[in-house]
Symmetry: C2
Subunit: 685 residues, 2 copies
Amino acid sequence: MSSHVDAKDLPTELSPSPADDQPAETSDETTPTEKGYRQPEIDVVALTGVLDGKYAEVRALVRDNLVAHAAILEDAETMTREDFRDRVRDVVVEMAGTGQTGMGFPAEYGGGADIGASVAAFETLAMGDLSVLVKVGVQFGLFGGAILQLGTKPHHDAYLEDLITGRLMGCFAMTETGHGSNVQALGTVATYDAATQEFVITTSDDSARKDYIGNAARHAASAVVFAQLDIEGEGRGVHAFVVPIRVDGEPAPGVRIEDCGIKLGLGGVDNGRLWFDGVRVPRGSLLNRFADVTPEGRYESSIDNPNRRFFTMLGTLVQGRVCVGGAGINASKVALAIAIKYAVRRRQFEATDPPMEDLLLDYGMHQRRLFPLLARTYALHFAQEVVASQLHDVLSGTTTEEHARRELESRAAGTKALGTWHATRTIQECREACGGAGYLSINRFAALKADTDVFTTFEGDNHVLLQLVAKGLLTDYSSDFSDLDQFGMVRFVAGLAVGTVLEKTAVHKLVERIKDVLPGGDTWDQEAGLFDPDYQLAMLRFREEHMLGGVARRLKRGIDNNMNPGEVFSLVQDHVIAAARAHVERLVLEAFVAKVGTLDDNDNKVALNLLCDLFALTTIEADRAWFMEHGRLTTQRSKAISREINRLCRKVRPLAVDLVDAFGVPEEMLRSPELMSWGSGSAVE
Amino acid sequence: MSSHVDAKDLPTELSPSPADDQPAETSDETTPTEKGYRQPEIDVVALTGVLDGKYAEVRALVRDNLVAHAAILEDAETMTREDFRDRVRDVVVEMAGTGQTGMGFPAEYGGGADIGASVAAFETLAMGDLSVLVKVGVQFGLFGGAILQLGTKPHHDAYLEDLITGRLMGCFAMTETGHGSNVQALGTVATYDAATQEFVITTSDDSARKDYIGNAARHAASAVVFAQLDIEGEGRGVHAFVVPIRVDGEPAPGVRIEDCGIKLGLGGVDNGRLWFDGVRVPRGSLLNRFADVTPEGRYESSIDNPNRRFFTMLGTLVQGRVCVGGAGINASKVALAIAIKYAVRRRQFEATDPPMEDLLLDYGMHQRRLFPLLARTYALHFAQEVVASQLHDVLSGTTTEEHARRELESRAAGTKALGTWHATRTIQECREACGGAGYLSINRFAALKADTDVFTTFEGDNHVLLQLVAKGLLTDYSSDFSDLDQFGMVRFVAGLAVGTVLEKTAVHKLVERIKDVLPGGDTWDQEAGLFDPDYQLAMLRFREEHMLGGVARRLKRGIDNNMNPGEVFSLVQDHVIAAARAHVERLVLEAFVAKVGTLDDNDNKVALNLLCDLFALTTIEADRAWFMEHGRLTTQRSKAISREINRLCRKVRPLAVDLVDAFGVPEEMLRSPELMSWGSGSAVE
């Protein structure tokens, strides 16, 4: 591989001459390490191994399945909507036959008994058609997951084997038109009738119709329905029931089903609306792991506090969030692979030496557009590995601690938010980086954009999820955590001293240690090297703690000033979201740094270190105003960071194709026949 | 109209307590003007009048036409591709019959003889189906515009009347697969054959096929083809020819036509590819306004310099860019209208006082997401009004100065880039702000997202356009401007003293004047009020000049260090783009401030001033790191700006619905029956 810009003698960055800027800058002009820099040669297969991790075999199976069904990418464009929905269902069932989609279920029902494997399989599936992915998520993650996690043995015996094979198709009827993220306020009611020992499910009004329910419009025979349990006039909160919604393909008596109509993307998923008009289901339909109703109508639960019970049930959503976050990250890989491979084939305007256009990827701006996204994709990949592993431990019972479960929920919410926003941003940037060609459906971006778009708002709206993260941090995932709505959280935090809030956060101790690991004492931020991971981590940890403290102080002050919690929350909301984001970014960097630390010293490690630096420094750069405002970045150092990022981009340039090849996106999933081959005769790679 | 947050007693911003931050901040806690603030009442009709400006009648005609053909929004989702393409063609022809699409053509051919009116009509059309918009742009703007601007009377006589009515459908065959933004390197050849007095048009190789050509795949009978003129072996550069591509609906002999296939959006536009295999057209087919070939084969041109001739011809693209920028801005209005109207109907979680969910728009974060975009939409609208008016003057011959034409080209390029990126960003944010409902096609975002996506890269890739802007600034739109490619520009700038470059820029004199209009001399940036438009303008002007100077210094230094221009350009490219963006943002703010200055003192003016402040301060805030790095913003003042923005958002809150109503988007164009009506019974507005 060669290129116009040879990393061996990288030109110095073209800063304005010192006469015009602060003289201090000149000392930063040349980084001494530059001299000894040797361009690493990436071992692509080995790097794919690092990325695939312990589930390499699972991912290989999914890649094979993706290739076997590659034609579906074109079918998505050419088939009628109904035909394509059936086609997607068929592919899902065929994939189920290979064991790919059942890995998270117990072995006795035909599953793979490995939660981590099921997440790895799902993530990898995101490299292909995303209707297939979402249909898999609905059937096995949401519907199957609810039966598994909220149900007990009779439910498992009754449903799991059939749903794992796809013989029983189901849906997850939680969201209502009038209640998106506010599940606790659902309007559907399940009234217990002791005389017949049945629950009577009713849609109370039109705002309580179930909406956007995947699999409902066409294929599902059964639904897990979330409804307010009512026993003799007493409300017991939201519970889940298994309700047959179709009999022989027709809506069951009392069930009305409507198609949600055409959507922005995911045309192969049959989203529908459901209304229940006094639908009767036997007492055993209640998924009764956490609460039950006796035949005579007595309510029993192992969890006394209703709020906590509710949040425990809702905790089953955690797997879906982990999966969607991973899907966003993997869809980003497809977009980056296409855009970067295109950019080493496409020439733009005339070149410097020979009378030939320069390769797009040799342009500084093009590198600046794509490489930070590439680095962040790697970072999020490794962060996702951590959260998937924690999910595995919690759901497999390896970790039973309540605190760990809450931390997992928070981490899953945060990674989902950052991973899916990253997908939206990355796919858009890559589309634009391919110009008009990026607009043709054959080049994949059309489907990637349209299908991933909903990721940012489903399985929990990203902003709502980040509020959940902040709530966890501010209350130390306390046992009261689950009982607190956001206004309860305002009151709770306002009742504590700010110092008390901070001391309980995980980041607090990490910040305390800054002085031990970095030179400079109070001036650690000016004396440490920019490429020192301890410095980079210290910056993100400082930001997180300071932002959390700011939120706590603002909440306290609002309450002290006799404002009501709603007003206070609204005024502080942007700080709450920012603090949560800072927390998650800190976790992401920690995951990346930790991962690189486990690797043997070789060229792949050198390359990953470049990406890790690029991720860390672009993350600091993106919020450099905040760091300056809070006294942790001088203007000189801020400018130095921007320069170093440009320099890092030039180092990544010759490695870029290998770095996207290592994602292991099957060629068939890239499509883009012309983008991939265009001008390859004359290109230098 | 009422709301939970009453602007009359806006709560003070909840800053962290002074003990933890710089004490200086406390003085900013309460803005004195707050006390006297009276919430304005917007006269929506009058505000629409301000926005519609002198072309109110034209816009009213287009709105009527949009409503008359409103069914096409649904047809876009339900018809087959071929049927929908024909449907779009039919609507375009029907609209043409009302005079709507021919306003830019001379009256003697049935046109309206008013360029400004044609731009206003096009912009307004962007509130509806965008396939119709783009088809109109191709037929009347690109094809018709080329005949009008590059042709002479015989061409006008032969084609204009038929193309204005839509009887003759045409396409604009410039872009080639291998050459997107680099028109000068096109591969299609037109060889003059003196024996027959014909041009022979040939696609030299597959990279020279014409690509993405709107109207080509199905409807166009004729094409304006851009090709390298070759006379007896001598290349004369790119010229345009009228070439029949279909005869009785079938491809003309020697012409091969292929469909580009399914695209991300704009399904109603028949984009195609064209190959020419020795296609012969008579000598008169050359659009010969700027250059001609005599029967015996002598080349004649009123413009000696070939480069300059080329760029003069390319200058005809300016109208298309003005139109696309305006379309992006108007599509943004549709998205904002839906998202804001939804947010005053949708409740989220439990409310503060009554046991009812708060309205989405009462959330601080939601305001922060939408209102700066609303303010920027207003700002861009007024900036667009300026560029459209300049276009009118230049194309109507009111302004003949060469310098003015070049300034127009630069301004058109810059406004197009910012307006279309704004559309992408705004539509995405509004989609997410409507949650899952935003994903349903009936709620408009699907089409808005998919159809506008290509705006950022067609009619000139936005990054390439910003480079054009920077080139103009750095060379003072000199007469040599058009002769310079980007590397020529590098050499040119490097050959001048930095001071010389800056002195010639328009912004230079404006910066010089800062001290005259603001208090504080060298510390103007610390002593002026944040809401003083002179302060806001001074900040953006300072940034622009400083960035331009930085680019000039960097270019100079690179050349002085014996780097080749390509390398230098690549290293400086991100600064080039940043400087251009700073320039365009300055123009946008100037346009907004100037517009507000022309209005009578009334509540509408008060409201627009709020938006203007919001635009100015969010623009500064977005680049506050740069201002701090360059000594023009203290950390205290930077934080104060963020607080004032939050406060402005709360003032805009009760006005928000009126502000989007004033856009005058016909109700039928919003669709979204449920988003618009949902819960209206219980909502307070």
